[in-house]
Symmetry: C2
Subunit: 464 residues, 2 copies
């Protein structure tokens, strides 16, 4: 075991004392699923040897584990559902893997229209709990196996962020445990709170480097009475993308506006043994609309149709049944899975929405220059583009790196950033300087030292 000084047997027995024998796993074969996330294989960092998997049942357990680790300078890797795409939760040093999967209770408070969820509950659990209480969790920030703690630690986004925003907008309170073992309660069932610096906002998006999130108060919304999904085909990318701000300015605010191109969406359908329902148009917009009544929805769909048609849209497909809508979204969500076997990396560069078309054109220029296939699609309402670096035509990892670097630079030159959703993780540390000034990074490092003086929490992640 690793380079930390503590006696391994003592550490294990101390951990067993805290969480119980059963919840400390030391045999490699029983922790395989915890050694990787969903990052594509060619760029995913490899897990270290000398790992111990620990499963606490409470914030107090977590505090005990962190105190012990901190005293002995043992690295701790908090993991959620391991659905990340930037190697953020891969344990790359000998140490402790901390899985909060046993802490998975959710209580819905109908009076305050909020949920209190433990960090190990999954996105699927939250969606279900909200639904059973007659309420709704609007965003869909990733795989439903993602856990609440991870969704918050990465400030996850996803497609349904146009109307109400990303995870940060839903979080009203957090319970966190500091690497030094203190349990802090931040915010609460509160819609307004200006009591001192908002440390909760630092915890959101810290990717498990500042604290371990153990519980969250999450804002819910009323269930939409009606939801419809539209698929709108266009001949050109330009027609499709120039439609987006017109829709947003019209007063109709869709939950999601997704941009896809026919080749990839058909590939995703084939991958699922399905048929994509709209066979026409090189470029397509998929929109999800919610409303309080059938009448309201009808008015909105008419308004959107008019805008789309004035931008040369072809026949619009309107999916009204829940089944049809979920089929469309399932296919859309599977582009990543369909492409994954042939993929080196997936990017999530984000630019001002009005520059999305320019960014896509730049990506085409880069693809032509290197003679490679760089399929791109994304959250058009948010200016958030998923560009895939595929194996096709890429001769080695240095070439992949050059391509990635050119895409990053194109995004930054257009007023954008290198990551809008997936975060920094292990993969993007070396490119942070493209977006953040030296002083910015210096402040981040100083903040890290305040929270984690011994650098035990997710070391070698996020920070250079």
């Amino acid at each position: 075991m690793g380079d930390f000084s503590v006696n391994l047997e003592n550490l294990i027995s101390d951990l067993r004392r805290i969480v119980g024998d059963k919840w400390v796993v030391t045999q490699r074969e029983f922790m395989e699923g915890y050694l990787r996330d969903e990052t594509p294989d060619p760029v995913r960092p490899r897990a270290a040897e000398g790992l111990i998997l620990v499963k606490p049942s409470s914030a107090e357990d977590v505090a005990g584990i962190l105190k012990l680790a901190n005293a002995n300078k043992v690295p701790v890797f908090p993991v959620g559902g391991r659905t990340g795409l930037v190697g953020g939760s891969v344990p790359i040093k000998p140490g402790i893997i901390l899985s909060l999967e046993r802490m998975n209770k959710i209580e819905v408070d109908r009076e305050n229209i909020m949920a209190v969820a433990e960090a190990g509950a999954t996105l699927g659990d939250l969606i279900k709990a909200a639904d059973e209480a007659g309420l709704f969790f609007p965003p869909h920030p990733g795989d439903e196996g993602a856990q609440i703690g991870g969704l918050i630690a990465t400030n996850a986004g996803g497609s349904r962020a146009v109307k109400y925003g990303v995870m940060r907008n839903y979080i009203r309170g957090l319970e966190i445990v500091l690497p030094t073992g203190e349990i802090l309660s931040l915010g609460g069932k509160l819609l307004k709170n200006n009591t001192g610096y908002d440390l909760m906002q630092l915890a959101i998006g810290c990717e498990g480097t500042l604290c371990v999130i153990t519980k969250a108060v999450i804002r819910l919304f009323p269930k939409s009475k009606v939801m419809v999904t539209l698929v709108v085909p266009f001949n050109t990318r330009s027609d499709a993308l120039k439609t987006v701000p017109e829709i947003l300015r019209s007063g109709v605010m869709p939950l999601a506006i997704e941009y896809v191109q026919i080749r990839e969406i058909e590939e995703a359908a084939k991958h699922l043994n399905e048929r994509w329902p709209v066979q026409r148009g090189f470029a397509q917009l998929i929109m999800i609309l919610d409303g309080a009544s059938q009448e309201e929805m009808l008015l909105r769909c008419e308004e959107i149709s008019e805008i789309c048609e004035s931008n040369s849209a072809m026949d619009i497909m309107l999916a009204e049944t829940a089944e049809e809508q979920s089929r469309i979204l399932r296919i859309r969500s599977n582009i990543y899975t369909a492409l994954k076997p042939h993929m080196i990396d997936i990017l999530d560069v984000t630019v001002p929405p009005s520059n999305l078309e320019k960014l896509m054109n730049e990506v085409d220029v880069i693809a032509a220059k290197y003679d490679v296939y760089l399929p791109a699609y994304g959250h058009a309402g948010d200016g958030n583009l998923h560009v895939h670096i595929m194996k096709e035509g890429v001769t080695d990892m240095r070439m992949a790196d050059r391509i990635k670097s050119e895409i990053y630079k194109a995004a930054v030159a257009l007023g954008g950033v290198i990551t809008g959703e997936h975060g920094v993780g292990s993969l993007r540390i070396k490119d942070l300087g493209l977006v953040l000034s030296e002083k910015h990074i210096e402040i981040m490092e100083s903040i890290k030292r305040i929270f984690d003086p011994n650098n035990i929490l997710n070391p070698n992640k996020v920070l250079p």
Copy 2:
């Protein structure tokens, strides 16, 4: 002049060199308006002697001033529109008053549905600029003379925060100047950004203690095609307040849900020489609704009426003309002004919305115990209550302090905080410990030292 070591004449001439002679004011009679904010007189701190008022024209000017101040350990008090209520911008030590009023440009970007506003532009300027571009800035976080920099530094809230939230939710990018003189650009015209720790979130709500905000990218929304204001009278507080979550769960999401009691709203009307249009009902809800069409609005009003009537509401007043609506809001906004001459302090305690009735009842108990008048009203949709400590029956400031303390404790016992809107400023520092743990305050202090190693920026504010 003050206790800092620099030669005063040298400091003044250096400041003149940076911003020009005309923009450095040293005569007390020309800075009177900068020595106070809207905090009620009995609790407002007094401005120090030995102040210099400086009006920069650019972020570079601000950087020059801060470098100079930092090198000489001269306190700097950034001020906005001085509409705060907790003594946050009163210059309480000899030093520099930094007013960004000359930096007041606003550009609206219709393609990205955002505004780029300099810190010295006012809320009124922003509302107007958005309107002229055919767009809308939904919240109304205070007096229209408030400046953008101050609204962000205090994370202002206000009444129209139910649907889209407080200032934080609208801010997509910031330009800030650190006390050590570096200019940082954070975020941008971006709806998603997960590139490193989100320092922008720390700047929002820092009350001018970590940095000076010089520019902001602010999200706008489409203009609502239709807006209506409802005034709904109830016989009892309980009937009015139990209606609120029912409305919020119905799927109708008002921009604002305000709770008032007849005595104070009539007093505000009288103060303006107006007549409050709804004379019945001890307790009233004022709701602002927006919608995309007349038909949509009609459906929503019907739904709300049904819910209100099922909770024993009396005749509902529906204001449709812009004039009538703005009259209602003007009267509502003037409760504070009407009460101010007789007021010692205004609180903005905030609890989980479902506990608002309990909190109001506790306030009544405290009023009865001390035999004083504690008028309360507030943002019912947000659980944010404005309790006024009036002079009536209060014999001295220690009694006022005991009353305040009991109200704070009642709010905290109900899962709330001592400030949801106004912030900590000078007035609430000593009560921070009621809400924040020692460790929380220790982390705040460490963060302050990272940003402001010489403690020059708004010293003796926010932090104990």
